[in-house]
């Protein structure tokens, strides 16, 4: 109940962050255009289209979020709010989780809005499952990717100078999202540890993956492994960011 109240009020904070909306809506629109214009695009008229759009949104919007959330754990240091929040009997990890959730809800909202619009279009064309699929795509493909990008940004932001953290976070996400398995360098793409939703897209929604799987098509199990793996990374990234942030604060 307490956590819910905390999330409610942090949501209000981020909801009123006009600048975040101003930037995230055109960003989602760009990604939508890319999803439509891509030669790989299956169009918007079926579940495959929804999944593909979800993946494109996950790749491109996350690239921008990787650049913008490097102060997610450290902004309070400048305003003194960190000091005040530290005097609460609630653990800082809980307070920061609420902030992460607040930011995530706003970031995903614009992408979700477009997925829902595509789903409505599909419902009118007779696809009754479209809305459910849109929500599922947002939950299992879009959300983990976004949270990973935000987590990378937050962790690097807690460890490094902001500008360096932003650039490195973008590069880290670009490597995770774009690095092709065709080059002889390690990459997560093409395997079950990919963070852009390929194993889930193919394993659960039976669509074509963006990167050809190295060891045969992804299965339902690959999807489960992929999701669990992404949840682990998210937890690790934010726990690391929280610890790094506390450690730096203790030195101030």
């Amino acid at each position: 109940m307490r956590m819910l109240s905390l999330v409610r009020i942090t949501l209000l904070m981020f909801y009123r962050h006009k600048a975040l909306w101003i930037a995230s809506i055109p960003l989602a629109l760009f990604a939508l255009f890319l999803a439509y214009a891509s030669p790989m695009s299956p169009g918007f008229s079926n579940i495959h289209g929804l999944v593909f759009t979800g993946q494109v949104l996950a790749i491109f919007t996350s690239l921008a979020y990787a650049a913008s959330f490097s102060n997610l754990m450290t902004a309070g240091r400048r305003t003194g709010m960190d000091e005040l929040e530290s005097t609460s009997p609630l653990p800082m990890a809980a307070i920061r989780s609420a902030h992460v959730l607040g930011a995530w809800v706003i970031c995903i909202s614009s992408s979700l809005l477009f997925l829902v619009l595509i789903a409505v279009y599909q419902i009118f064309r007779g696809n009754g499952m479209a809305m459910l699929a849109a929500l599922a795509v947002a939950l299992v493909i879009l959300s983990p990717s976004m949270l990973i990008a935000m987590g990378i940004s937050a962790l690097l932001g807690a460890l490094l100078p902001t500008i360096l953290a932003r650039i490195l976070a973008v590069l880290a996400w670009a490597w995770l999202a774009f690095y092709t398995p065709l080059l002889p360098l390690p990459t997560l793409n093409g395997g079950p540890l990919s963070v852009i939703g390929d194993p889930i897209a193919q394993g659960w929604f039976h669509t074509n993956p963006m990167y050809v799987p190295a060891n045969g098509p992804f299965t339902v199990q690959s999807g489960v492994i992929s999701l669990l793996w992404q949840v682990c990374i998210i937890l690790l990234l934010f726990t690391g960011a929280n610890i790094a942030s506390n450690h730096i604060k203790a030195r101030v």
Binding site: R2, S5, M13, R16, T79, G80, M81, E83, S86
Partner: protein, 286 residues
């Protein structure tokens, strides 16, 4: 709450010790914490509020050792804190911000939080703007939001760092009265450079210098340090040498100085000391 600080030291890497073997007992009631910049006041308050941990030494609050995480957590339930520099979330209204602080202080009942927030905002004179975004409020109003948040949850220990900085005279007096009322049945630690605020509200005072305890005891005792050493000079052209000048009052005949010294210039008249005189007398003793 009775606070006992026992041989407390805090070192920050590459800097001189912020607190250096500080030992002091602070009774219940209003306590003024004064000292020059860099004396260690803010560090002491951060340790008292559980934000940072000491390098050495212990703090006991009502006999409970603060080095235990459980005791620290328990203290935080009864703590109100106003940091020196705080910018409350600008896109929340004062009412919403206090609600947020109420949640952080684990006040479960939403209605109780809202009622408390209303009452406190009225007490600090923000009832007309309680629903406007904090970003649109003046600096003094934001400071009052900070004061109100420190009082959320009816804390038994209140730690306030420079609370009256930026307040207009009317609000300063109102806040002083409020603090004095609160200090009747709880411990309030007031850190400030405005000695008048301490003189008006704190029966007990602690003076820190270079991380050490230079004085702790009744405020009257600190004032007494300057008894027999406080003088008003006749109007003179140049300031007297080798004395501590407290203030200067220009007159048509020259400037009249209030000084603390053992050897006043000829014609000086002894006067009753105040807290500023006592503080300066103590400072010149070191």
């Amino acid at each position: 709450m009775f606070i006992s600080i026992d041989h407390l030291t805090k070192d920050f890497r590459g800097r001189p010790a912020a607190l250096n073997d500080l030992t002091v007992d602070l009774p219940q009631g209003m306590i003024g914490l004064i000292g020059p910049n860099g004396a260690g006041k803010t560090t002491l308050m951060r340790i008292l509020t559980g934000i940072i941990k000491p390098t050495k030494g212990k703090i006991f609050i009502d006999g409970q050792d603060l080095s235990s995480p459980a005791n620290r957590r328990n203290l935080k339930r009864h703590l109100g804190y106003l940091p020196q520099h705080i910018t409350p979330y600008e896109n929340l209204s004062p009412l919403e911000f206090l609600d947020y602080i109420g949640i952080l202080k684990m006040i479960e009942n939403k209605r109780a939080r809202q009622e408390q927030a209303h009452t406190l905002l009225e007490q600090v004179g923000l009832e007309d703007v309680m629903n406007q975004p904090i970003g649109g409020l003046s600096g003094g109003m934001r400071r009052r939001v900070g004061i109100a948040q420190a009082l959320m949850g009816d804390p038994r220990l209140l730690v306030v760092d420079e609370p009256t900085a930026g307040l207009d005279p009317e609000e300063r007096m109102r806040f002083r009265t409020l603090l004095a009322q609160l200090g009747q049945d709880r411990t309030v630690i007031l850190s400030t450079h405005i000695l008048d605020d301490v003189a008006q509200t704190c029966p007990w005072v602690c003076v820190l210098r270079c991380g050490r305890n230079q004085y702790d005891g009744p405020t009257e005792g600190l004032i007494h340090e300057a008894a027999g050493h406080t003088w008003i000079t006749p109007p003179i052209a140049a300031p007297p040498n080798n004395v501590t000048i407290i203030n200067a009052e220009p007159t048509p005949q020259g400037t009249r100085y209030r000084i603390v010294t053992d050897t006043p210039p000829a014609g000086s008249v002894e006067t009753a000391p105040n807290l500023e005189d006592g503080y300066m007398a103590l400072a010149s003793e070191r």
